[in-house]
Amino acid sequence: MIARRLLLALCAAAPLLLPALAGAAENGASAEKGTPARPYRIYMVLYRGWEECAKGFKDYFTNQNIPVELIIRDAAQDKSRIPGFVAEAKELGVDLVFTWGTTVTQEMLGTYDKVDPEKHITDIPAVFAIVSQPVGAKVVPDFKSSGRNITGTSYLVPMETQVNLMRSYLPARRLGMVYNPLEANSRVAIDELTQLGRRLGYDLVAKAVDLVDGKPSVASIPGKVAELKDAGVEFLYIPPDTFLNVNRDVLTGAALEFQLPSFAAAENPVLNSRAMIGGVYRYYTVGQLTAYKAEQILVHKVAPKDIPIDAPKRLSIIINMPVVRALGVYPPMNLLGLAEVHDPEAGP
């Protein structure tokens, strides 16, 4: 009697036990690595294709020997594709969602005051990256905790650090900025720079690009830079603005033409265009930090709301040497010692 009962109990428990046992066996096999054999499935939604941040995210798992299966989707700057990705992620039942950029993050995860379980990912944990204003964009209420099933990283260097870096290169008394009046990020940057200027002793001249048919006009950029130069601006600040990022060559080219040193808050204008210096967290590093947070959720089972949103610790100072030479404004020796020098002409 007793034996039969025990057998029944075991059979009843079997469906529960079996995966656990299987898991244990597999874990035993790969015990050295301390990882489960079944890879974690991560659904990655990008906005501008595969780039450094996504690469850093992927490489982190490779370097840490954490098996992952990445399902990669690119919105290709088209917002309308995103609802389809939400549905697909839910259908696949992935372990984690990765979102790139403010638009993708807002569309996939909703804002904290407007989450719709129908339209947004809610049950699957998510990490976001490359959101310039996580609080301003209402992705999270504050950096300590999202209060929901997501966490992520910020990638913007604090404005004061940027200004100090800029002015350690050149003690400018007047900074200039060309911005897209339609981009909220730019206005935030203007406010911050103006306030800091009162404390640090400089002033800011900001020029909005012209709007043609409600769209910012690329052709008006060089003129705005010339106006800044005429206003006695000594250093051009390039905010992390999508429109300016897209048209970075026009902007930095104009700066060079008018002999205006330029500082970029993002790495693209320095590495892939002609901004003179940048103080940034490298996208690759940001990707790695985001992957670290994903590891906390997947491997260490930390609830996403318990993981604060923060930025990498190490600031990258990138100096674009061809531009420096063209301008003849040389960096102080100590800054040069700290900086990564980007000098494609010099060769390896």
Binding site: V324, Y330, P331, P332, M333, N334, L336, G337, A346
Partner: protein
């Protein structure tokens, strides 16, 4: 230090000690310095190479990126931290191929330019070395990418640096040498006094008594050496004489009781009476051992003990400052001052208790008892983690210090009854002053080499050594404690004596305030900020006891000869106060040295006249309460000044900075001294008896 009849012997011994100790040490030190000097030059070249190559690599990197050598930016900020990290480097410079200076930090262009233009550094090897004015210049070529030399990086050394280093080491050696001489001499004094002159002096007393027919005493000496044999032989003679006397008396008694002839009996009785009249013998047939309790006996233990305390003199505020963490309502400066103030307060508060303990257990035992908290305090001070445990252990040490000093003074004053008082006091002051000189000098030197903690352990070890020595002496003789229980002086009655009050508040207290506030507290911090090394600080602080020792010898003679006491006290106070104002007109460490010397001069002039003045100004009180208890009270009042000194100085620092605090303290001390100078004019001279009339 009075050497009385043994003076010539001791002088000869001292000369012998100097001859034996100094030449070999001097020769060895001289050789070592030579080797050191030879080793310095290549060491400097190596340093130039390491520093220079690193800087050159960065310059060449910039040049490689297309920054023209003559258009480098931020070179001052680039050079400054390197110079700050390498004190032996004087300047860093870059010159173009013609020797024109492009950048220079740490020297004046005019000093170098002319020599650089003519030097022709060429294109060749590293480390082209030239002498430029007061510098050595090592040049390293800077190359462009193609290998062309486009300029030179220059690393400049101060030529005086080597000489400075050597002078520093030489001075350290001199301090060690002088201190070992003094210690050797103290040990010699101890050995001579304890083993030779002491027993012989006792033997002399016994012989003197015997000459006068007094056979009641034998010298009490147990040592096994020749002196011991001699003294024992003498004791045996005395005992034999005593036995012969008893034999004679027994015989006389026999004759007196048994003889038939009354005339003979009368004659014999007469003989007995005559013998009894001429000679005195111990009534119980045992000649009493005559102790050899002399003030000089405890000189060495006292010396070692004070030595231990003085070791931390020049760095205590630095040690405390390193432990102080800001607390609300308590500045770091104030916390740094607390260990000194607590130590002084512990001595002041524990002294009356120490006097009672000494009365109860005897001075030698009290001395040894004091060693226990003192040694424990020092060792634990070396282990402390924070300011509060430091305070605790300083208080423990202070209690030990109080017990030891009170016991030592009591011991000396008891022993001095048999000798001269002045000599006894001289022993105390001499031991404390020499220990202060030696301890301070060695303490800083040691702390620099083995660290603060380890130096405190050495202090602890010295106290233990002193205790062992003392325990040995105690085994020899411990006469019963006979301290007259002094009447407690009535504060109010004493303070009603305005001369006494003025002397205390306007001379004694400011003197101690200047000592603890300035010398003990501010001086180490100021000199440390001026980036002097610990041994340099100690050498500065040691100026005080040195000057004081010399001055006080002269001052006490002056005061005795001319009865000029109040005047000297006033003069001393003014000199000390004015000295503290030296930072008003001068910068750097020189005014501090001047102030220290002035303070030594001040206290040297005023210390002994001030002591001598007390029986003068409170003659009736001394008679009523006893000099000893009046002196104890004087010390307690003085200690209040010692406690206040560092606290006042610490309160000044946040307002006026370190040098400002010195000046503030100087103004305070000078004002008080000036008041005393004016008031002392009304002292008159000689003993004052009007107070007696008032109270009568």
């Amino acid at each position: 230090m009075r050497l009385d009849s043994s003076r010539s012997l001791l002088v000869r011994l001292f000369i012998l000690a100097v001859l034996v100790l100094v030449p070999p040490t001097a020769i060895v030190s001289y050789r070592a310095l030579g080797a050191f000097e030879q080793g310095m030059a290549p060491e400097m070249d190596k340093k130039a190479a390491i520093v220079g190559q690193d800087l050159r690599t960065q310059l060449e990197r910039a040049v490689g990126y297309g920054v023209p050598l003559e258009r480098m930016v931020g070179m001052t900020e680039f050079f400054a931290p390197v110079l700050a990290a390498n004190p032996e480097l004087r300047y860093l410079a870059v010159s173009d191929p013609d020797g024109r200076l492009l950048y220079l930090h740490g020297a004046e262009t005019a000093e170098l330019q002319a020599d650089f233009r003519t030097a022709g550094f060429g294109t060749g090897r590293d480390g082209h070395k030239i002498s430029v004015g007061p510098y050595f210049d090592v040049a390293l070529p800077v190359q462009a990418k193609g290998g062309a030399v486009i300029g030179h990086l220059h690393v400049g050394f101060d030529r005086a640096y080597v000489t400075d280093r050597l002078a520093n080491i030489f001075l350290d050696v001199a301090v060690v040498l002088s201190v070992s001489l003094i210690v050797a001499f103290e040990v010699l004094l101890f050995v001579v006094f304890f083993n030779i002159t002491g027993p012989l002096k006792v033997a002399g007393w016994v012989v003197d008594r015997v000459r006068r027919g007094d056979f009641e005493h034998v010298p009490s000496v147990w040592s096994g050496d020749e002196v011991g044999h001699f003294v024992r032989a003498m004791s045996n003679s005395v005992r034999r004489t005593d036995e012969a006397y008893r034999g004679l008396m027994a015989y006389i008694e026999e004759v007196r009781t048994a003889h038939f002839d009354a005339g003979v009996v009368a004659r014999v009785a007469e003989v007995a009476d005559r013998v009894r009249f001429l000679f005195r013998f111990s009534p119980d047939g045992r000649p009493a051992p005559l102790g050899q309790r002399m003030a000089t006996d405890i000189r060495l233990p006292l010396f070692l003990f004070v030595f231990a305390e003085e070791m931390s003199r020049s760095f205590m505020p630095l040690y405390a400052g390193g432990l102080a963490t800001p607390l609300p309502g308590l500045s770091v400066e104030m916390m740094t001052a607390l260990p000194i103030a607590f130590f002084m307060a512990a001595i002041a508060l524990a002294s009356p208790w120490a006097a009672r303990v000494t009365e109860r257990v005897g001075s030698s035992r009290a001395f040894v008892m004091g060693m226990v908290p003192a040694a424990l305090g020092y060792v634990m001070t070396g282990f402390v983690f924070g300011l509060f445990d430091l305070l605790l252990w300083r208080v423990v040490s202070g209690v030990g210090y109080a017990l030891v000093t009170v016991a030592a003074q009591t011991y000396i004053s008891q022993a001095a009854r048999e000798e001269q008082r002045a000599q006894g006091l001289g022993v105390y002051v001499g031991a404390v002053l020499t220990a202060s000189i030696c301890g301070t000098g060695i303490g800083g030197l040691l702390a620099e080499r083995i660290g603060f903690g380890a130096t405190f352990f050495v202090s602890g070890a010295l106290v233990v050594l002193s205790g062992v020595l003392l325990a040995r002496i105690m085994a020899e003789s411990e006469p019963p404690a006979v301290v007259a229980v002094a009447a407690r002086p009535k504060f109010r009655r004493l303070l009603a004596n305005w001369r006494f009050t003025v002397l205390m508040l306007f001379a004694a207290v400011p003197a101690k305030m200047a000592l603890t506030g300035f010398l003990f507290f501010l001086v180490p911090m100021i000199l440390w900020q001026s980036s002097l090394t610990l041994s340099e600080i100690a050498r500065m602080v040691v100026l005080y006891p040195l000057v004081m020792a010399v001055t006080s010898a002269i001052a006490s003679r002056l005061s005795d000869r001319f009865q000029w006491r109040a005047g000297l006290v006033a003069l001393g106070g003014l000199i000390g106060g004015i000295g503290l104002l030296a930072p008003v007109v001068l910068d750097g460490t020189l005014p501090i040295a001047i102030a220290i010397i002035a303070l030594g001069l001040s206290h040297g002039l005023s210390a002994s006249p001030q002591l001598a003045l007390i029986p003068d100004v409170c003659w009736t009180e001394c008679r009523a309460f006893g000099r000893v208890s009046i002196m104890a009270l004087v010390r307690t009042i003085e200690r209040a000044g010692s406690v206040a000194g560092p606290l006042i100085a610490a309160a000044f620092i946040p307002m006026w900075g370190l040098n400002g605090a010195v000046i503030g303290l100087g103004v305070l001390v000078l004002a008080l001294a000036a008041f005393f100078a004016i008031a002392s004019g009304a002292y008159g001279s000689g003993p004052h008896i009007e107070t007696e009339e008032e109270t009568a």
